[in-house]
Amino acid sequence: MNHALLILTLLLCPLLGFLFNGLRFRSQNGVLAGTVATLAVAISFVCSIMLYVSLLQLPADARVISVRFFEWIAVGNLTVPFGFLVDPISAVMILIITGVGSLIHLFSIGYMSHDERPAKYFAYLNLFLFNMLILVLGDNLLMTFVGWEGVGLCSYLLIGFWFTDSQKAAAGMKAFVTNRIGDAGFLIGIFILFLTFGSVNYADLTDLVPKVVETSWMGPMTLATLFLFIGATGKSAQIPLYVWLPDAMAGPTPVSALIHAATMVTAGVYLFVRMSSLLVLAPLTMQVIAWTGALTALVAASIGMTQWDIKKVLAYSTVSQLGYMFLAVGVGAFTAAQFHLMTHAFFKALMFLGSGSVIHAMHEEQDIRKMGGLRKYLPITHMTFLLGWLAIIGIPPFAGFFSKDEILWQSFASPYGNKALWAIGAITAAMTAFYMTRLMALTFWGKSRFGKDTHPHEAPPTMAIPLIVLAILSVVGGWIGIPHVIGAVLPGHPENYFGEWLKPYLTPAPEVHGSAILEWSLMGVSIGLAGLASWFAYDSYVNKPDRPKRIATAMGGVYRVVYNKYYVDEGYFAAIINPLIATSKGLWLYVDVNFIDKCTYWATDLVHGFAAFIKTVQNGKTQSYAMYMAVGIVVIVTIALL
């Protein structure tokens, strides 16, 4: 099959699905809408696999399929083709997106079965996938930006899906605007790159960029990557723009799974993996990225430990995991970042869907304090969730372990990394284990704390199947990227397939100087920490339910600050949004109405005053008029005679 046609099919299926559902958005027929949408994505998934196979058939160092449909923008030196690029990096992405996407679509059929506007929902979802595919497939920065904004747009629509609730609509808007801040940075990054190197195509950029490491903050590469990173902080919810993601949980849960866990939020990571050859030339940016990622991971994890809303916990967990990925990017471990992106997509999507299943079962209840003991009622959900939990806290051999460990090791040993970064990473890992176990304990284990009129019921098969598939992936997903040290001791010496796959297309991870023993021992430390934290959480929340409260009281102010998410939202409101609105009102009232308009009024008043003066001078007295004449004559004659 022709590659162009394949890519076209890949892209158009979701778009057609969107159009199909969008044009009959009033339809109540959720099954039809869901089936069409799911089929569309499934076809895309098939296309992705076919593309992957096509890539496999190419030699290892020339696995690039590039298709340009038409010139999109051509002005001056700027030529932006409407072109797509399938290489190992984007191949991984499209597989994840369409794969996880089709599962989540499937899940949504059941989840949205009682909604008023299922067709609209699936339309948005398909549109999102379309945009996400453009994002990852675009062969230039501008195409990426198209998808970048497009997914933001769909995110806006989906978060505000239940728009009659003003809060949810506000959350959508917050997401879009926050993303827009990042997008503005992204734009500037594009400008700098284009004006410095004269192209926005990835291929050209890789060729054109001088292979010289920049050491100045003002160098074009450093500036450009920094601005691109601002874009990434918006999209991928990093400090300081992460605030929208927790609010984004206002949307339907499958949306959170698809957009705010598996795909969209990882776009930033994808971008830097894609741009790795540039990034390594700007070590200062890498430092910034690494530290931002690490801090985000830490802060988000700490907030996650205190939240009671099941989706909020998962949201902060997502932020935290994204922090990991950026940490990996920052230390030059691009493979690890991409790897973690993938595994995270599996287990986080799983957990979100699981939480969706829980919420569905609990009739839209999201507070974990009102759950507990759901293991009995929701066995499948519990089982799958359990596997996800094991994956995220990094228990070998679950998927999360391999990717996370790779990141921690690189942040310790890479020349870009250092011990502090590793320490933060490790602490975060422990915190992750804590809050995830806490979530498990409060939701599924222990006694049930919900009212008698609530009768949780297991999800229908359309919801169960995706859970199971994802659970399997969460288990085995990591096995394709087994680190060398582990692979060495395993039977059959499985190679790091994932690393090999990406290797020719990524700037190779820097030479790691560290012995295998060190790696093993660090691995042990992190697993140990995670285990300890998990046990502590289990103990606290299942066996001694009053301990958390005691600790919270003991922590006092610190707990309150963390519980209130460090008052970041409030801070933004106080420092930026409210002053902005006040300023705007001031500008309007004092500059527009009271100054510029007043100035014109002053001018007219002046004229009118002068007119009034003339009217008084024109007093109707003949002799006064004669006097004006006489005085006028005298003055004119005097001037003329002088």
Binding site: V607, H608, F610, Q618, M629, V637, I639, A640, L642
Partner: protein, 492 residues
């Protein structure tokens, strides 16, 4: 001693003769028939007849430059142009008068007599080549106007207006005459060419001549309502019956401008000794524009507003006059003046005609209130008024725009950029009050009026003609401008 005049001189002045005869015949008839007023339409026909003959004679005599009565009168492009304008406005205002409540009564014959002889005076001024003749002409039309205003049936203000005009006009004539006496004394002659030939030299050496020259210009400026000699204009325009306001606002200016242009032909402004005065004159132009436009902003009475606006137009014309006077490409300035004069006459006659058509009683003084909702009841009239006002504001493609364009062009060409900019500022102010009547007509709801106004077909026709001319000549101004240019090139 030679007596060097003949039939040709009589033929040359025949427009004036025709007017006089046409004015005398109905009066004679009236006297002979025992002082009984004739049908006003018949009287009007006599007037038209005289005007038609006058126009015909003017056309017949046009083309070559001639002088009559031993050089006391001159017939060249400027004078024929002014003649035609004067005859045109006379015809128009006679038409309005015959249908106006305030002028058409038992004394319409006398009225017509005065108007036509007034026109004779104006023609004389336009033709005169001798200060003595000029003065007599000025006095003739001034006295006619004083009495015409007083003749109005409109009781409230016309007497006052006439008296004010009389006193101030007489003072102005006295001043002008005083200036003429100095000119006569220093030049030794009142003949215009001699006076103008001696001007550059005398301006340098003789202060008395300088004063004389200035006083002469003051006299002219009074008639043109140039600041600070303008104060009479609003009061008199407001107090006069509308047809006559139209007449004196246009005819007087036509005559005086022809005379002024002759003065400017001397290029006296190029004399260095005269520069302070030239500067002053520029300031007067600027102030005239400013005061005219600003004062018009706050007028309730539409006639008064138009009076101020016509004062502002005088200011624009003065810009052209200065441009014509300072040497260099004077032709542009002079052509601009004549073109503006024509434009101004059309617009003023037209607007006053509309006001006249809206007047329901002898002593009505229309305000903006009276215009409200006209667009609904009299759409065609409102449209005409709109075209005329838009033209007055100088918005293309109407004639008013081109008039301003030519005057500003001349000013810029002559380096008087600041005056052009000042004129522009004035135009901006003027837009406001020119638009207000439009606002009232179209955008505000009608007020119920008591007095029914019957159809006045002749006036209606005249107004329509004005509006259409304003549009048509505006779109095709070139042939007309060429004509004007040709008529001034002889003088300049």
């Amino acid at each position: 001693m030679q007596i060097n005049f003949g039939l040709i001189d009589v033929l040359l002045v025949s427009p004036a003769l025709a007017l006089f005869l046409a004015s005398a015949i109905p009066l004679l008839i009236k006297v002979l028939r025992g002082n009984r007023e004739q049908n006003s339409f018949a009287t009007l026909i006599y007037g038209y007849l005289g005007i038609v003959v006058a126009v015909g004679m003017t056309f017949a005599m046009m083309g070559t430059e001639r002088s009559a009565f031993d050089g006391a009168l001159v017939f060249d492009g400027v004078s024929s142009f002014a003649t035609l304008v004067i005859l045109f406005v006379t015809a128009a205002s006679l038409t309005f008068s015959s249908e106006s409540f305030s002028t058409n009564d038992r004394q319409f014959t006398e009225m017509l007599f005065l108007v036509l002889n007034c026109a004779v005076g104006m023609l004389t001024v336009a033709w005169s080549n001798d200060l003595i003749v000029t003065f007599v002409g000025i006095e003739l039309f001034s006295l006619c106007l004083y009495m015409l205003i007083a003749l109005s049936l409109e009781e409230r203000a016309s007497k006052e207006a006439a008296f004010k005009y009389f006193v101030l006009g007489s003072v102005a004539s006295a001043v002008m005459l005083y200036g003429i006496s100095f000119i006569y004394g220093t030049v030794g002659s009142t003949v215009l060419p001699e006076f103008l030939a001696a001007t550059p030299n005398l301006l340098m050496t003789n202060r008395l001549f300088l004063i004389g020259f200035i006083l002469l210009i003051v006299g002219v400026a009074f008639k043109l309502a140039i600041f600070p000699f303008h104060s009479w204009a609003p009061d008199v325009y407001q107090g006069s019956p509308t047809p006559l306001t139209a007449f004196m606002a246009t005819g007087v200016k036509a005559a005086m401008l022809a005379f002024f242009l002759r003065l400017m032909a001397a290029q006296a402004f190029t004399v260095e000794r005269f520069w302070p005065f030239v500067d002053t004159l520029q300031w007067l132009a600027a102030l005239t524009i400013l005061v005219g436009n600003v004062a018009a902003l706050r007028q309730k009475s539409l006639k008064r507003m138009l009076a101020y606006s016509s004062m502002a137009h005088s200011g624009y014309i003065l810009i052209g006059l200065i441009a014509a006077g300072i040497g260099g490409a004077s032709v542009l300035g002079a052509a601009g003046v004549l073109f503006y004069l024509f434009t101004y006459s059309l617009m003023t006659i037209g607007t006053f005609g509309v006001l006249h058509l809206l007047e329901g009683r002898a002593d009505s003084d229309l305000t903006l209130e009276d215009l409200k909702g006209i667009a609904a009841t009299k759409p065609w009239l409102a449209l005409n008024m709109t075209i005329l006002l838009v033209s007055m504001a100088g918005i293309p493609p109407t004639l008013g725009f081109f008039a301003k364009f030519f005057v500003f062009s001349a000013a810029i060409k002559q380096g008087l950029v600041w005056l052009a900019i000042w004129g522009v500022v004035g135009s901006i102010i003027s837009v406001y009050y020119y638009l207000r009547p439009i606002v009232a007509m179209y955008m505000e709801s009608a007020v119920i009026r008591q007095d029914r106004v019957e159809l006045r077909p002749l006036s209606y026709f005249m107004v329509t003609v004005m509006a259409l001319l304003v549009l048509a000549i505006g779109v095709a101004s070139e042939p007309f401008y060429q004509m004007v240019l040709a008529s001034v090139t002889v003088v300049f």
